[in-house]
């Protein structure tokens, strides 16, 4: 923040901008308020005076029209006598502007012939003051002035104007102080976010933005940022873990292939030996390729790039086809594969991916189940709920502590180490579930493992699937999804 304001002009700072906006809004509303006050007090008095003059003039003019000059003079005399407040001003003058009757000494020079309303300074009975005057030209060349002494109004208006100007001044001052406060608050609130971001770009991924606990917008921002940082942290951990696992799990078969080839080159006693060694090394390398392909496929799914192929489809025929494909293999091994699938089960997603995920679960079930056991492929779904696909076997299952980690890449349980597989099968299922807004759940089937895969029935909002392992291990379960 400090570095930012040093490098940029002051207006470039958002804090300053927000402060200025605040000050401007505050000043503008104060000025509007002052104008309104003025209009509704001093302005009102002025309008009342004008109205009184107009009414007065109407009466006098009617008199003149009815009776001519003498009744007009009489009426003016009467009105002057009856004016208790002594604020009314009258002056009737002849065509040469000589006073005929009225309470002004002479025709004021500042009242020019062609003007209607004017405001003039007057001196009356020794007192100076302001008067609002209206001039009428009568038939016969006579001139009439009607007015009101507005000295009191003028004084009040001056007072009011002074007060309002002060108020605007004070408002500007307060506005500026407020602007400074807003800027300061802004900086203070953002300082932590920017400090955290700076620390993280410097490599300290453990830093988090402070949450004030007030639950306001800034807290929500801080929580969003922290969630994002958590996710980044998890991804980083995942990457680190995977690179370690790759280093280990790929090094082994590569080392084996290399050893075989070297051994053959040194010690092979003829073409048959050589060929056999090469074929075995080829098989080792095929294993490495398979691991690479599985890893890339998982990465591709996790990147979510394949959402473009998402469409509504029916799970039921897909599952029946898979059951048909695997039933024969299960029978060969002396196992029974029993599908329990409703006639129709709508889902939304990528058919190929779901096929592969279910195939991985079936591969695992077949691989770890003893002869004579049953494997159940079940499915169910209710309107609005994600479709559930269950693969349950009667094999050794997975011990409870391992279940949470079973879907991690390269994780293999103790007893699964003796069976072929890369430890990527369940990781792929997990990735497919997450991409489809669903989840992968591993539970105890007493005995065996029950894997439940849920698949969303409409466009998933954001990946939110997690592995859930429920507890209840009464038996040692020790086979982990490989494949």
């Amino acid at each position: 923040m400090a570095a930012l304001s040093r490098r940029r002009p002051l207006i470039g700072s958002a804090g300053v901008r927000f402060g200025l906006i605040y000050a401007f809004t505050f000043a503008l509303s104060t000025i509007i308020l002052a104008v309104f006050l003025w209009w509704s007090t001093a302005g009102l008095l002025d309008r009342q005076t004008d109205a009184a003059i107009t009414v007065d003039a109407q009466g006098l003019l009617e008199r003149y029209v009815d009776g001519g000059l003498p009744p007009l003079e009489d009426t003016i005399e009467q009105r002057m006598a009856g004016n208790i407040d002594d604020d009314a001003i009258y002056l009737l003058a002849d065509p040469f502007y000589r006073k005929m009757v009225g309470n002004l000494e002479r025709w004021p020079p500042s009242v020019l012939p062609d003007t209607d309303w004017t405001q003039i300074r007057i001196e009356r009975a020794g007192r100076r003051g302001m008067a609002q005057i209206r001039q009428f030209d009568l038939l016969g060349g006579y001139h009439l002035l009607i007015g009101r002494d507005v000295e009191a109004h003028a004084q009040m208006a001056r007072l009011l104007t002074d007060a309002l100007l002060w108020a605007v001044g004070v408002a500007l001052l307060l506005g500026s102080l407020g602007a400074l406060a807003v800027r300061g608050l802004f900086r203070f609130t953002l300082a932590d976010v920017s400090a955290t971001a700076a620390a993280i770009s410097a490599g300290d991924l453990s830093r988090r933005v402070r949450v004030s606990g007030r639950g306001d917008e800034f807290d929500r921002l801080a929580e969003t940022i922290n969630d994002m940082l958590d996710r980044i942290g998890r991804l980083m951990d995942g990457v680190r873990q995977v690179s370690n696992a790759i280093a280990h799990d790929l090094r082994t078969p590569i080392a084996r292939a290399r050893a075989r080839l070297e051994d053959a080159a040194e010690h092979a006693r003829g073409e048959v030996d050589l060929r056999a060694a090469i074929v075995r090394a080829e098989a080792d390398l095929d294993g490495v390729i398979a691991i690479f392909q599985a890893l890339l496929r998982i990465a591709e799914i996790e990147a979510g790039a394949r959402r473009s192929a998402f469409a509504p489809f029916d799970l039921a025929p897909l599952l029946l086809d898979l059951a048909d494909l695997y039933a024969a293999a299960a029978e060969e091994r002396g196992q029974r594969l029993a599908p329990e699938i409703p006639p129709s089960l709508p889902a939304f997603g990528d058919r190929d991916m779901v096929q592969q995920a279910v195939a991985n679960l079936l591969d695992n079930a077949l691989k770890f189940s003893p002869p004579g056991s049953a494997i159940r492929l079940g499915a169910s779904g209710e309107a609005g709920q994600p479709a559930r696909i269950t693969v349950a076997d009667e094999g050794p299952g997975i011990p409870e502590p391992d279940r949470l980690r079973a879907a991690e890449r390269f994780f293999r349980g103790e007893s699964a180490r003796s069976t072929p597989g890369s430890g990527l099968g369940l990781a792929l299922v997990q990735a497919v579930a997450t991409l489809h807004g669903g989840s992968l759940r591993l539970e105890d089937n007493r005995p065996g493992l029950r894997a439940t895969l849920t698949i969303g029935t409409r466009q998933p909002p954001l990946p939110g699937g997690r592995v859930n392992a429920t507890s209840s291990a009464d038996q040692s379960h020790a086979a982990i999804g490989a494949a």
Binding site: D352, D363, K367
Partner: protein
């Protein structure tokens, strides 16, 4: 058959060309996109093996699109290191008939190229298939061997149909998964072998000579022994 290999990597090209020649094919080679386009457009081939990333200003997809734009329907197998599903979709959309990713097993490549080249020969839509004394009627969905009726499940029928359509060629497990089940992944279990062995029980077991043969390190082949 005449096959064009467009591939810039010397080792891969040498390996593929040698293998195809050993299998009895006539092979032409282009090591860049421009030569590949020139050869494929000016001469007749039964199939083209096409790399995607090529030097010479014309990459594999451009070459393929240009070729298809000229109404040249030579079967094309795309051979690429770009393995993502979207890459495959793009390759097939551009007019590719098959897509294989590197690294690959030569047996798989050979089987697929031969299947493509054979398909390119374009026999009309058949209603009957035959291999040796095995006959298949595609309309009545009846299968007979040596005049004897064989009852098959729908999936077994499709598996046998696929094998018969590719009679005399090697068919890999992956080809069967894609062609018969429409699956694009490799199961870890030997599901295909089990299905083929069940089919053998019905088609080969009761008869003196087997038709469905296992080809080591590659897959299966349906072939009538020539007496």
């Amino acid at each position: 058959m005449r096959i064009l290999v467009v591939e810039d990597d010397k080792d891969v090209a040498g390996f593929v060309i040698k293998g195809l020649r050993e299998a009895g094919h006539v092979v032409e080679h282009a090591d860049n996109g421009r030569d590949g386009l020139f050869l494929s457009a000016s001469e007749n081939f039964d199939a083209i093996v096409l790399d995607r990333m090529l030097p010479g200003g014309v990459d594999g997809l451009r070459l393929l699109e240009t070729l298809r734009g000229q109404n040249n329907n030579t079967p094309v197998l795309i051979l690429s290191a770009m393995a993502q599903v979207d890459d495959r979709v793009r390759g097939l959309k551009a007019g590719g008939d098959d897509y294989m990713t590197k690294p690959f097993a030569f047996a798989e490549l050979l089987a697929r190229v031969e299947a493509l080249a054979r398909r390119g020969k374009g026999e009309g839509p058949a209603t009957k298939l035959a291999a040796g004394d095995l006959e298949m009627d595609l309309l009545s969905r009846a299968v007979k061997r040596a005049g004897q009726k064989i009852d098959l499940q729908p999936r077994e029928f499709r598996l046998l149909e696929y094998l018969m359509r590719h009679a005399g060629q090697v068919v890999t497990r992956t080809m069967l998964l894609e062609g018969v089940w429409d699956y694009h992944f490799d199961p870890q279990t030997n599901v295909i072998d089990v299905h083929v062995s069940r089919l053998r029980q019905k088609v080969d077991k009761p008869f003196p000579t087997p038709l469905i043969h296992t080809v080591r390190n590659a897959g299966y082949m349906l072939r009538a022994e020539q007496p």
